[in-house]
């Protein structure tokens, strides 16, 4: 790409050698996250920022040369939000990984964007605190990436999603300037809520280079119930029964038989032998025991085999759930979904998903953050024949339509990225989409940041 030699030359003058790579295998590795790839593009370069100034310098240089900037954390996203665009560089934040401050009395931490979610949690645990958002990728994914996608997780029905834990942000804008949004206090209503605007904007409005997050209290106690049912729909009905009892578990996960079997195969567990569907519930806090008893009473009329798990087994079950999607990226023959529906439609959605998979002759397994109505069906085919792929895509499309018909959303927590743009106009009106494009233009008039994503 000789037309970029000037840019690449300037880039290598700007940063130390170990902060840049032009190596083919590195470009290939950083070209994609774990989302489906619709249009593979190699970046011109991969850059690892070490400081805020690095980010500012790179942004300004890229702007001068008309090169796009794709911010990236750990690359664990599953919607292609960190896929390279044409004529882009990947700006990795993974080496900006310092926890700058933990204040256990204020119950806040200040972190660089590359801090791994699990590392922050490990660092605050001695103070009796936790960073609540816990995407399944929490052992690898970064706070910056979690912020870019407004990541959810297992315990967010009770503790909220990423947005609910972010108090303030440092953001580098398209003109290279650095702004600070939000406040260190739990409450604050001065001016517009720009912090929330950046959370979930997938690096299209600016590059988050620092975050002040609110920490919550580690629960003093927790109880874990594994309830195995013969069929998935009854397990889903259990979710509504717990809701009707007005009990708010910290975790309420649903796994169907195919998911249990898949986990067993990969993790050498024996879940499938215990039933055709699993409702995995964890209550926590001072009322954990009473809540767990309330859960047991609420689901009793549905049948099912209920066991209170000891802490070790509970941890193992949650870890198995976190691995339910596997560590692999989506394949041509396998795509994971991330829709959410109003809670009352959980059973209907599951029933209709099973039907449509049959109709399109594709396989399906489903896990759900059921407390939030957030479902992750995974569809797959046995081969990559064109007619198989066509059936796969038809099933996928229908499953998304179904969520919209039930007044749901096309993405509960993974983000639009690049992959889900195809459905966005079915969820959002032309007026709303135009407004978002005008916002994008205001922040980033030359379309520097992560083009073709999010909106």
């Amino acid at each position: 790409m000789p037309e970029h030699s000037e840019f690449l030359h300037a880039l290598t003058s700007l940063l130390p050698a170990q902060s840049i790579s032009l190596a083919e295998e590195v470009l290939a590795e950083y070209a994609v996250d774990q989302g489906p790839v619709l249009d593979l593009q190699l970046p011109l370069a991969v850059v690892w920022a070490r400081t805020v100034e690095d980010v500012q310098d790179v942004v300004l240089l890229a702007a001068r040369h008309g090169v796009s900037v794709v911010g990236r954390g750990a690359g664990t996203g599953v919607s292609g939000g960190a896929h390279a665009s044409r004529n882009s560089l990947i700006l990795s934040l993974e080496r900006m990984n310092r926890i700058l401050d933990i204040n256990p009395e204020d119950e806040v931490a200040i972190v660089e964007p590359g801090v791994v979610n699990a590392e922050l949690n490990a660092a605050v645990e001695p103070y009796g605190l936790m960073y609540a958002p816990d995407p399944a990728s929490y052992r690898m994914s970064t706070i910056g990436g979690n912020i870019a996608t407004n990541a959810g997780g297992l315990r967010c029905a009770k503790y909220g999603v990423t947005r609910d834990s972010v108090l303030a942000l440092d953001v580098v804008l398209a003109d290279g300037s650095l702004i600070h949004t939000g406040h260190r206090t739990f409450k604050g209503v001065a001016g517009y809520d720009l912090t929330s605007l950046f959370v979930g904007s997938e690096g299209t409005l600016g590059i988050v280079v620092g975050a002040t997050v609110r920490l919550k209290y580690l629960p003093v106690d927790s109880r874990t119930l594994a309830i195995f049912f013969d069929d998935f729909r009854t397990a889903a009905a259990g979710v509504l029964a717990v809701g009707k009892a007005r009990i708010q578990p910290a975790v309420m996960e649903l796994l169907d038989g195919a998911s249990l079997q898949d986990i067993d195969e990969r993790m050498h567990s024996t879940l499938r032998s215990r039933g055709g569907a699993l409702l995995l519930i964890q209550t926590d806090g001072f009322g954990a025991e009473a809540e767990a008893e309330g859960v047991a009473a609420a689901v009793a009329p549905l049948g099912g085999r209920l066991s209170f798990e000891d802490p070790e087994e509970a941890g193992r079950l949650l870890e198995l759930r976190r691995n339910s999607r596997g560590m692999d990226a989506d394949l041509q023959t396998r795509v994971g979904e991330d829709i959410a529906v109003p809670r009352s439609r959980l059973v209907d959605y599951i029933a209709e998903t099973e039907q449509l998979a049959l109709r399109h002759q594709v396989n399906v397994r489903v896990v759900a953050h059921a407390g939030d109505g957030n479902l992750h069906p995974t569809f797959w085919t046995e081969d990559a024949e064109p007619q198989s792929i066509a059936r796969l895509n038809a099933a996928l499309d229908e499953s998304v339509q179904l969520a919209l018909e039930m007044r749901g959303t096309i993405t509960g927590e993974h983000g639009i990225g690049q992959f889900k743009l195809q459905w966005l106009s079915q969820e959002q009106s032309p007026e709303l989409r135009t407004l978002q494009h005008r916002l994008k233009e205001l922040f980033d008039p030359s379309g520097l940041f992560n083009p073709g994503k999010a909106i």
Copy 2:
């Protein structure tokens, strides 16, 4: 105002007579909310919308005639966010007061903006649900007004502020168009978070004409502890002790001796005789009893006279607290503050506030949503002599500076409105302020909505 006769004529043709008032006493009543008045302006007219179309028609007509539109709920705001501007009309939403839908399984409600907070709570209570944000004005203030200011309240340390309970909004924009933001599901990350951008924007970006809110579970149990101390600083230290025990009460309110005395005088209670400061804590949920015992143990080393209150007395104490600021608007001789500081600074802030009041020879009383670090000092003087008012303003200004020095904010939950604009540039950088003005311009290029407020 003959130059407006054409506008007023068109307005009276547009809406039925009972939806408009030009009467002097009505204009005067609707000219201000309960915030300090810096620049009294009478509106040209007061209009009560009954439908979304009414709002759209009025907005378009006002735009054509260059008349500003000031949206208004119950007018209980205390920052002047609903004060009339020069050449404005007041658009009251208080008659759009229908609860359109309550879905107890989805745990959401859809409301018009004029629904009173307490009425929504009463309507969802039979389902075991509550609308969590509870500003002290909850018996009068509207959901729309709560959204405009991102209102907080007593129980938001545990249950979050208004923003955390709003899932979706219907908003009329400056061009008269209607958009729908957000989602009915608990989670959803499609596109930018415009919902949060509108929440707290004080009617400067659009007029909220509908809201989908998330409901939370009414707690199965609650325990209320009244802990009286001889002095306020020790009571504040109790807040930190509870935090160190990692217990999250639903309510954690601090009242100093002067506040207790003021309540006693107005409400015929006898709080002041029980101590010089009150820490009022309510725990709730399945763990309420265990948490209350934990609170008692945590504060025991500080001394204080602790009593567990029966539900009736607990309700009475909370109601007295909600009335602590009184029902009156600020006066020339009395101004209430709304700063927030990081929790660790609570004791310091209170100590320094007592000092600065002495130094400026003004009276002060303080109540605080202590769990959030959100303090409401009220300063007052005995007379309205110019030198007294100068001392009052100096004390007020210093109390705000103090919050900023402690890394706090100039407004925890009341909003900037008109009154707090004077301090905004001390909290927010020029770059951040410029960005917000550009956002305002994008949404409202002709400056139609609530000019001179919020940013």
